[in-house]
């Protein structure tokens, strides 16, 4: 009985020691003080009109509470299930992709996603990075020629 308990205890210690540690400073499971940004909802996309010289896509969504969100990432993809790339970082719930001189949107079909992020700091006030929340459902937009 004594030996059985000892073996059980040793097995538990071994099992605990072989577990992967949650050392990522942005992991909310390992750091309960971290607030995860809400998933972005209500995303709407509007394309510039036919024959527009500067083509753009205007995006709007419901703003997250400032308690859990410091900004937003704008993603664009060529298809619903394609890879998405970050094309802009904004701090309000409106974005115009292509509306700035360095943005250039060509005519075609696009899928957009938006996610919120929050700056995470350690207890000492050192920046740990930006924790990004869940991305919104993709929204389709066709930019006319």
């Amino acid at each position: 009985m004594k030996y059985r308990n000892l073996i059980l205890l040793l097995s538990l210690i071994l099992l605990a020691s072989c577990m992967v540690k949650r050392n990522n400073p942005l992991d909310p499971v390992g750091n309960p003080n971290i607030i995860v940004p809400d998933q972005v909802s209500g995303l709407q996309c509007f394309a510039s009109g036919t024959g527009a010289a500067n083509k753009y896509v205007e995006l709007r969504w419901n703003a997250n509470p400032s308690l859990n969100t410091d900004g937003y990432y704008i993603y664009v993809g060529m298809a619903y299930n394609s890879e998405y790339a970050v094309v802009d970082t904004v701090f309000t719930n409106i974005s115009s992709h292509g509306g700035k001189p360095w943005h250039n949107v060509k005519a075609g079909d696009y899928w957009y996603k938006v996610s919120a992020f929050r700056d995470v700091f350690s207890e000492d006030g050192i920046a740990q990075g930006k924790l990004e929340g869940r991305r919104s459902e993709p929204r389709f937009v066709r930019v006319p020629a």
Partner: protein, 210 residues
């Protein structure tokens, strides 16, 4: 100092009469004299007390003893030491068995150990790969996904590591049995070879067996 002892002895000689001194000496020597009386040369020289009938019998026994000593020397050379076998198997699992001519067993142990350790290492590497991704991840879904992806192979890695430890332990237990069995076989073979030998040379000359 010597002078003092000499004077004391002289005084003692004067004090004790000589016949009393003789009695004391006889009393002191009595046990050894009794022992001398008990010693019997015939009994001492009697070879039958060891189970030998006569000198021929004793000679046969002697020859047999020399034969056994010779066989023991051969056995010492051909047999495997258990301690050495355990050490070999502890360093390279299966090596002790291979040394004891148990090729199949040795190969199985070596293969099983290499396989379990190899698989364990493979899963550990995979786990580390995903753990690296987890550490770099900043998006909540990626963090959760990569953590789960790192944890599962880590469990497999430890499972195969434990299997390797069990194989290693059993390999140590088995090498003791294998070496014992091998040594018994070596002794049997030596005895058989010795039994088949018709001519043998020894210090007493050439011996022929029929």
């Amino acid at each position: 100092m010597r002078k003092t002892i000499f004077l004391l002895l002289k005084q003692a000689q004067r004090a004790i009469p000589s016949y009393l001194a003789l009695i004391f000496i006889l009393m002191a020597l009595a046990p050894s004299l009794a022992a001398q009386e008990q010693f019997d040369i015939n009994v001492f020289a009697d070879s039958t007390k060891y189970g030998w009938e006569d000198w021929r019998d004793r000679n046969t026994y002697r020859m047999d003893l020399i034969d056994r000593q010779e066989l023991l020397q051969i056995y010492e050379m051909e047999s495997s030491q258990i301690g050495t076998s355990i050490l070999k198997s502890a360093i390279i699992p299966g090596y002790g068995q291979i040394s004891s001519k148990a090729w199949t067993k040795g190969t199985i142990f070596l293969g099983a150990e290499l396989l379990s350790m190899g698989v364990s290492l493979y899963f550990y590497d995979r786990s580390n790969y995903y753990y690296g991704k987890y550490m770099e991840a900043t998006q909540i879904d990626d963090i959760q996904h990569y953590f789960a992806a790192a944890q599962t192979p880590r469990y497999y890695s430890w499972m195969f590591m434990a299997l390797g430890a069990v194989v290693w332990g059993y390999n140590i237990y088995d090498v003791i049995l294998t070496t014992d069995s091998y040594n018994a076989q070596v002794w049997q073979e030596i005895m058989e070879r010795h039994g088949k030998k018709t001519i043998s040379m020894g210090p007493d000359g050439i011996q022929l067996r029929f």
